[in-house]
């Protein structure tokens, strides 16, 4: 059975155990003798630790250990998680310790690990650990952090600037000097946490027979975790394995390697018992990385027709207390701003500030939603000031298709040129405007206003970098059973990776999904791997799978041809066998070919073939492939309460070749839901002492089914020349334009009040304030 075509969705290989409740997530792992961990965590934003008294905790029945930094020390080559991606822009190194030692720098920072017979007992014991904190001033605002005289986020640190860089090209000064119009915007953007429904978790198991530590971890990057853990423990890759069970969502923060991963592992080594730590939701709010605040001051210079001459500004980004990943969120934001449009000159000065909060690392979109939001707000401003239709203004500035591939002067964080490889942006915008009936909206809006209803429409374009390189390996191996085994460094967290790989391989080798097994997320199954993030796995692992499968196919057909005495082009692979087209009795099974290529002592391999029926491919692409799209949102505002209802959301989208339309759509819709959350609901609040004030699901609002509009999707396919599949990534696309389109629509709905919005999220009380301000201005002008 061939892989599904459009409209032929038939489920995924991941589905049956998930539907039956027999899948194995990390907390489902049960091992003999397993113990349970809980962490003692800082209740303060910044403090010195004077003493830790664990005597009462250790004395509690059922408690096996309470380990502090000092207890971990003899088992660690390094006590710090040096996991930051390289960058020349760092001003200081602030790596997280495996456990806090002399200081804590954010609420939730782990101070000690308690290991007991049950999680219940571990929590009882954790409450008995007495930590003598000397509270220190905490820095809550990333702008205040950079002002002279600000308290230091780390008391022994030099200042709070952790990194800074400029991005840009062209003669910005000249562009602005000669511009017909210049407009300035101050924009605040806040994004919150991941809140995958499954929190983090580890099960660490030490096997003395093989002297091997296995860490089952709900991670998006098992190979990176293995390398980081190995470096800290001084354990080589032969004696260490990191493997992912089923993972209940990742969205970015699970790609990070954490102190808890280290502490759990060392506990298992010390106690010689399996140790399980499952993060609970309260921990997720303060100990798992998240995105947070960015403050942008930006200006756009345009000519009389609204064509962009230049863009410049400054960004201050809240980095949190430590470096858990790098400068990539603000870098990605800065790099994204201009992409859909022709911008002759650009300059952004970016500063990353420390704060006494949990570190910031990518959450679905990874800075790109923020970059897109800034550009789209500026364009709406230009359109309004110049009296040009917002879509028309964009059309005048979009990179036209005839300029593809469009080499921008920008470089990715790895120094790779940003070249927009394919896409027809104006056609994409036109397609969504058509579907959303953009042109007829003003009439509908006027009719609604006459009835006292306030509706609005907004749009946003985006171009996103996908397929972060350099590779993701795949091995395709047919064993003596005739089963096709696929191994990859890819890591799955719900985005249908296994089905994607199985279908790509099955397409070349017999077309039967049931004959393919896929193993992902296991550092012992394949020696190299990078992991799941940056919308990369279809591009990277998919390409490797495709090429490897082709190689295995070619070899199998050659050997089969030799053994059947037929020409390879007269053969076809169907199910688990190869047969002569039109003469189905002339056949040989894949199993037989695999056995033949395993060799028999003293006998030559058939057809002069090399041994084995397998291929490993590390398809290398350094350049990212750029997907694009346009979103249109329609909203209705209840002007008496400020409530926003999204009445319609239409998105045109181009991810190159769509491997499976249903899965692609599911990724986009999920991303849009997250974007709606960013626009209207999700705010991770802290007070001035860096205490979280939204630390439950009652206070931090994830959208539920009634708040979600039905999403309409329009598809476009501009295959990329960068990989044999022509595929681009899609996992983050939905979230990137969503907030921009929604805010544009809200502003449009509230145009009679002169409302101007330059923030996300925006809440009903704030919308009401805009309406009241508009009314006052109107009254004053009478």
């Amino acid at each position: 059975m061939p892989p599904p075509g459009p409209g032929e969705y038939r489920g995924r290989i991941e589905d049956p155990p998930l539907l039956r409740g027999t899948a194995q997530f990390v907390d489902d792992i049960r091992l003999p003798g397993m113990l349970h961990a809980a962490f003692v965590r800082s209740p303060l934003g910044h403090a010195a630790i004077r003493a830790v008294d664990a005597a009462a905790a250790r004395a509690l029945a059922g408690v096996h250990a309470v380990l502090t930094r000092a207890d971990l020390r003899p088992h660690l080559l390094s006590e710090f998680l040096a996991v930051g991606l390289p960058s020349p822009s760092y001003k200081q190194e602030v790596d997280r310790p495996a456990l806090a030692g002399d200081d804590v720098a954010h609420v939730g920072e782990p101070v000690a690990i308690v290991v007991a017979e049950s999680r219940y007992l571990a929590e009882d014991a954790a409450a008995l650990v007495e930590v003598d904190y000397e509270e220190l001033p905490a820095v809550a605002d990333c702008r205040a952090a950079l002002k002279p005289g600000a308290p230091r986020v780390h008391r022994n640190g030099p200042h709070n600037l952790v990194a800074e860089f400029d991005m840009g090209y062209g003669d910005v000064a000249a562009a602005f000097a000669g511009a017909a119009h210049v407009f300035h915007e101050s924009i605040w953007q806040h994004r919150g946490g991941s809140h995958s429904i499954e929190c983090r978790g580890d099960v660490a198991v030490y096997d003395p027979l093989e002297d091997r530590l296995t860490l089952w971890s709900s991670t998006q990057a098992p190979h990176a975790a293995m390398r980081a853990l190995g470096a800290m423990l001084g354990r080589d890759e032969n004696r260490l394995r990191v493997v992912t069970p089923d993972v209940g969502g990742g969205f970015g923060p699970k790609l990070v390697f954490y102190p808890e991963d280290v502490a759990t592992s060392v506990a298992a080594l010390i106690l010689r018992r399996p140790v399980k730590w499952i993060e609970d939701r309260r921990e997720h709010f303060t100990a798992t990385t998240q995105e947070r605040d960015q403050f942008w001051e930006v200006e756009i210079a345009v000519d009389g027709a609204g064509r962009i001459l230049g863009l410049r500004g400054a960004l201050i980004h809240d980095h949190g207390a430590y470096t858990a990943r790098g400068v990539n969120v603000p870098y990605g934001a800065a790099q994204t701003v201009t992409l859909p449009y022709v911008v002759p000159a650009y300059r952004l000065e970016v500063k990353l500030a420390l704060t006494n909060k949990v570190p910031v690392t990518p959450v679905r979109g990874a800075g790109q939603p923020q970059g897109a939001f800034v550009m789209e707000r500026l364009l709406d401003r230009v359109a309004r000031e110049l009296g040009i239709d917002r879509a028309e203004l964009r059309r005048r500035n979009l990179v036209p298709p005839e300029r593809m591939p469009y080499a921008t002067p920008l470089k990715t964080r790895g120094g790779i040129p940003v070249v927009l490889d394919s896409g027809d942006y104006p056609k994409c915008q036109l397609a969504v405007l058509d579907r959303a009936q953009w042109d007829s909206f003003p009439a509908r809006q006027n009719a609604a206003r006459a009835k006292g209803r306030y509706i609005g429409i907004g749009l946003a374009n985006f171009v996103e970098g996908t397929g972060r390189g350099p590779f993701e390996p795949v091995t395709v191996r047919i064993g003596p059973s005739g089963k096709i085994h696929v191994y990859s460094g890819a890591a799955a967290m719900g985005q249908s990776t296994k089905t994607m790989l199985a279908d790509l391989v099955a397409e070349q080798l017999g077309g039967d999904r049931a004959n393919v097994t896929v193993t992902t997320g296991d550092s012992a199954a394949i020696s190299l791997g990078i992991g799941g993030f940056n919308s990369r796995q279809a591009v990277m692992a998919g390409s490797s799978a495709h090429v490897a499968a082709l190689k295995v196919r070619e070899k199998a057909l050659m050997v089969a041809g030799h053994l059947l005495e037929a020409a390879a082009e007269d053969l076809e692979i169907a199910g688990a066998e190869i047969r002569v087209k039109g003469a189905p009795t002339m056949r040989i099974s894949l199993a037989q070919i695999a056995i033949a290529l395993a060799g028999a002592p003293g006998f030559m391999l058939p057809g002069g073939a090399a041994p084995g029926l397998e291929a490993t491919e590390h398809f290398v692409v350094d350049a990212m492939t750029y997907a694009n799209g346009t979103a249109v949102a329609e909203v209705e505002i209840d002007i008496e309460t400020g409530a926003v209802a999204i009445k319609r959301f239409v998105m045109a989208h181009d991810c190159g070749r769509a491997l499976d339309r249903t899965i692609v759509d599911g990724q986009i819709i999920g991303g849009v839901a997250h974007g709606i959350g960013n626009a209207l609901y999700e705010w991770m609040g802290f007070d001035d002492n860096c205490q979280p004030v939204t630390a439950t699901f009652a206070e931090y609002l994830l959208i539920t089914a009634p708040e979600m509009p039905q999403i309409e999707l329009v598809h476009q396919e501009s295959p990329t020349p960068l990989n044999p599949l022509g595929v681009k990534g899609v996992g983050e696309s939905g979230v990137i334009p969503a907030a921009a389109a929604i805010v544009s629509a809200i502003e449009d709905a509230l145009a009679p009040f002169g409302a101007h919005i330059a923030q996300t999220p925006i809440r009903p009380a704030e919308i009401l304030a805009l309406i009241e301000a508009g009314r006052r201005r109107h009254a004053d002008s009478l």
Partner: protein
């Protein structure tokens, strides 16, 4: 070990006798003492719905119940939905065919919630389905595939009744 009680609970049609600590959550009892790990914990404060089971036929958050409270009662978990190891319930098939799940972590709670809902509302509107699952959070799908699956399941169940 703290204070314990003996309980008798019927889970997915099977009678279990067990001794449990009185503070042990029902969700933990099902998952770790009975080994039925299909019921998931996502928040432990009664919002996400991943722990939803049917308690005497009515959906309930098992993270907000004590195991001792289940004494003498009947529970249905996700493991009890399929009629057999080789067959799936029409609701599960509808989820599969409509891409109603991605990571699958919220799925058990969605399924039990919808089993009750479709039993009591065999011919729902889309809006009614959305309200029915408003107590179940999903971070992957944006709910659209889940709603489509629920509406499809309603049709399949009606057809099965007629056929």
């Amino acid at each position: 070990m703290g204070e314990t009680r003996k309980i008798i609970v019927t889970v997915n049609g099977t009678r279990h006798e067990a001794e449990v600590e009185v503070r042990y959550l029902l969700a933990d009892f099902l998952r770790h003492q009975l080994g039925l790990t299909g019921t998931h914990l996502g928040c432990e404060h009664g919002v996400c719905g991943a722990c939803t089971i049917l308690f005497d036929g009515r959906s309930a958050r098992s993270c907000l119940m004590l195991a001792v409270q289940a004494n003498g009662h009947e529970i249905l978990t996700v493991e009890g939905i399929a009629p057999g190891p080789d067959k799936m319930h029409p609701l599960q098939e509808a989820f599969r065919d409509n891409h109603g799940l991605q990571c699958g972590f919220c799925t058990p709670g969605m399924l039990t919630t919808l089993i009750e809902f479709l039993r009591d509302n065999p011919d729902p509107t889309e809006q009614e389905v959305r309200v029915a699952i408003s107590g179940n959070l999903c971070r992957c799908t944006g709910y659209q595939g889940i709603v489509a699956a629920a509406l499809d399941a309603a049709k399949r169940l009606q057809a099965a009744k007629r056929g």
